[in-house]
């Protein structure tokens, strides 16, 4: 305001000073702006609108979420305002996002990663929503959707298994057999290498270092069992335990068969090499299907469960991360948001979503599965037959611990896979910082 009167007082030489004053006025206004806008309530206060924060920024999930929210809008007469953010950015900024002015409903993951935010009270309990949708879900899924306090905080949409994927035609051409046990797996990898293939497609370059955890999780689950794996993930056992050392020893047997230069390649490029029959196998999730554009190739893709290492555990655990939704801690339109969550937890939403994105599986048991392709059917059977379902290392554990300690440690080790216990010692020395008793 002072800026306006400035003009008259500094009458001599108004040109330059006016401009400078104006600029500073603008600067001051810019400084004030964020404070002001934080006070006003935005469009969210509208009782006819529900805001939805989505991490589905890739083309396929984006289209799938749009189909689901449109159907809900038509059904309920409420408007859904979707705010899509890039997947990695969404995860990285989740903590600040939830403390700021988050959307009413937002996409998130089941497991410890959800429980962490429930414990911090950055989301709202959903028991009343579950009273209505509960019938559609198995006990295992219900367990996944509860916080440590026993209340529900999560509405699941889909999951997808991790396994060892391969091309059927390649195995037929070369006469490869699907391996059941670790020894057979290594022998097959050796044969593939001799045949000039990269036995195990691998790309953990750039932001994709998480993808190596699939192999780590399975090696630990197969060698030491589900219970040990979960204790390790929750920070309850030492990373220098000899059972963890054994995991890295097993992994070292496998590393000579990894596709070379994996540290500079994206998982998509690695998956492509499998589709192009340059690699023989890939330890990856069903989302590999998002890479496939040719339906003929989709029909040629198959998988087998990660091979058995210790007969006491066999192949009883399946890694099947579950994605879904949560409700922010102070939703602007709570009734509308809960209606949206009820819809998202129902069979219709699942069918709509899976209709667009066939690389996932519906979690709601009432959803129709007739339209599933062969790979989806087999995946559903794999998950249904599992005795234990794990999420994924960064969902079963403190994600900060995984991303700043475990991942850099393990990727560095993969570059020179020899001194496993040195790597584990480094990881162990950081554990107490993330898990306090």
């Amino acid at each position: 305001m002072t800026q306006q009167s400035r003009h008259h007082l500094a009458a001599r030489g108004p040109g330059r000073r006016g401009v400078v004053g104006g600029l500073f006025g603008l600067g001051a206004a810019a400084l004030g702006a964020p404070v002001l806008s934080a006070c006003g309530s935005g469009a969210g206060a509208d009782p006819k609108t529900v805001t939805f924060g989505s991490n589905g920024a890739d083309a396929t999930p984006k289209k799938a979420y749009a189909a689901v929210t449109e159907a809900f809008a038509k059904d309920s007469g409420l408007k859904v305002k979707t705010n899509t953010v890039d997947h990695d950015t969404f995860q990285k900024s989740i903590s600040t996002y939830l403390q700021g002015t988050p959307d009413d409903v937002f996409t998130w993951f089941a497991g410890y990663r959800m429980q962490y935010f429930a414990k911090k009270q950055l989301c709202s309990p959903l028991d009343d929503v579950w009273d209505k949708i509960g019938a559609g879900f198995s006990d295992a899924t219900k367990q996944l959707s509860r916080g440590e306090d026993g209340k529900y905080y999560f509405v699941p949409l889909y999951n997808y298994p991790w396994a060892v994927f391969y091309r059927k035609s390649l195995f037929k051409e070369r006469g490869y057999q699907v391996p059941q046990k670790w020894g057979e797996f290594i022998a097959l990898a050796k044969r593939m290498k001799k045949d000039g293939l990269a036995p195990i497609a691998s790309g953990y370059g750039g932001g994709d270092s998480w993808s190596i955890l699939g192999a780590f999780d399975y090696l630990d689950l197969r060698a030491n069992g589900y219970d040990f794996h979960m204790s390790l993930m929750r920070g309850k056992v030492s990373w220098t335990d000899k059972r963890t050392v054994a995991v890295l020893d097993l992994w070292r047997e496998l590393t000579p068969y990894y596709q070379p230069s994996a540290g500079g390649r994206s998982w998509q490029d690695a998956a492509q090499s499998l589709l192009d029959k340059k690699s023989g196998m890939a330890v990856i999730g069903l989302f590999l299907g998002q890479q496939i554009t040719d339906e003929k190739i989709r029909a040629d893709i198959d998988f087998f469960p990660f091979p058995e290492i210790d007969a006491t555990h066999g192949q009883d655990a399946v890694e099947a991360p579950t994605d879904g939704f949560m409700l922010s801690r102070r939703p602007k339109n709570e009734d509308g948001a809960k209606k949206l969550l009820e819809f998202l937890g129902g069979a219709q939403a699942e069918e709509l979503y899976m209709g667009v994105d066939p690389s996932n599986l519906a979690v709601n048991e009432q959803a129709k599965t007739d339209s599933y392709n062969a790979l989806q059917k087999k995946s559903a059977d794999l998950i249904a037959s599992a005795k234990h379902i794990s999420q994924f290392a960064d969902r079963d554990s403190d994600p900060g611990f995984i991303s700043t300690v475990v991942l850099p440690g393990l990727t560095e080790w993969l570059g020179h896979p020899d001194d496993g216990s040195g790597t584990l010692k480094k990881i162990e020395s950081q554990r107490s910082r993330f898990f306090t008793a």
Partner: protein, 306 residues
């Protein structure tokens, strides 16, 4: 103003001027205090605590524990310090002198000089994210330009430029140097344009050759520009972050590419943030920067005063 001011002398600042000055100094000063000093002091304070960044009540004072942890038991810390030093030395010893060299050559009215200048300066115009994408394409292990050329030469081996912890820092340094060279070149070229040609002529008459003219006459005479270049180089090295972040895939520190700035974001941004720990790392970086800048400023001004 003291009351001893002679009445006859008109006051140099009218009331309007004073308000004006108060406003134009006051607002930036308030902004500086609020946006620079307050966060800096808050970081310093937080560096003695543990905090997950959610409830203020959860801030717990732990004294020097964070620093103790960082210096004795944080595996990426010392590599990060080493990489920051390598970054500074590399930038100061290769792209900076090379930029000066290019500027000196291009100043000598050679043909197509404007085209060369534009070409070399072009990377500076691009956003660092774009620079990152360009080098990502060059370094890609399967389809990258660099491996393409090397394979054609018959080696037949992939080189994992960005994945190999022994190589990736250098790969990133080259990408950053590519951009830095153009920056230095333009700065130096601007200095050379204002250089008095008579000095060069005098040097030529005295029988100095090209090298002598540059080292004994041009370079010392361009001291103000040299200082700017030194400051720019130190600053760019200490704040090195973005290009590593882009080439590392936007996930913070990676083996071989740890930098202090990346470790700070690793700990502060993310799903479970360790504000206290990250702040302690930030304070370390602040001290390193202050030491570098302080030494430099003291040196410069001491000489100016003489």
């Amino acid at each position: 103003m003291s009351s001893a001011t002679p009445r006859t002398r008109p006051r140099r600042l009218g009331p309007g001027d004073r308000i004006f000055l108060t406003v134009i100094i006051g607002i930036p000063l308030a902004a500086l205090l609020f946006f620079v000093w307050l966060p800096a002091l808050a970081s310093l304070g937080l560096s003695f605590t543990t905090w997950d960044g959610i409830e203020l009540a959860d801030i717990h004072w732990i004294g020097l524990d964070n620093y103790k942890e960082i210096f004795t038991n944080y595996p990426p810390f010392w590599p990060a310090v080493r990489h920051n030093v390598i970054w500074l030395l590399f930038t100061a010893l290769l792209p900076t002198p090379f930029g000066i060299f290019l500027a000196y050559q291009l100043d000598r009215k050679i043909r197509f000089t404007r085209i060369y200048q534009t070409a070399i300066f072009l990377p500076m115009v691009l956003s660092l994210a774009v620079v990152g994408f360009i080098w990502e394409i060059i370094y890609n292990p399967d389809t990258g330009l660099l491996n393409g050329i090397l394979n054609a030469a018959g080696s037949g081996h992939h080189i994992d430029w960005l994945g190999n912890p022994d190589l990736n820092l250098w790969a990133v340094l080259i990408a950053s140097g590519w951009r830095h060279t153009g920056y230095i070149m333009i700065l130096y070229l601007a200095g050379l344009k204002g250089f008095d040609p008579a000095l060069k002529e005098a040097a030529a008459l005295d029988g100095a050759n090209g090298r002598q003219t540059f080292l004994r006459v041009v370079f010392p005479a361009l001291k103000p520009v040299n200082i700017i270049i030194l400051v720019v180089t130190v600053m760019e090295s200490l704040r090195a972050f973005d290009i590593v972040y882009v080439l590392g895939g936007g996930v913070g520190s990676k083996p071989g590419m740890e930098l202090l700035s990346l470790l700070i974001t690793d700990n502060i941004i993310g799903e479970s943030s360790h504000i206290g720990y990250g702040s302690a790392l930030a304070v370390v970086l602040l001290l390193v920067s202050l030491a570098a800048i302080g030494t430099f400023l003291v040196q410069t001004f001491r000489k100016e005063d003489q």
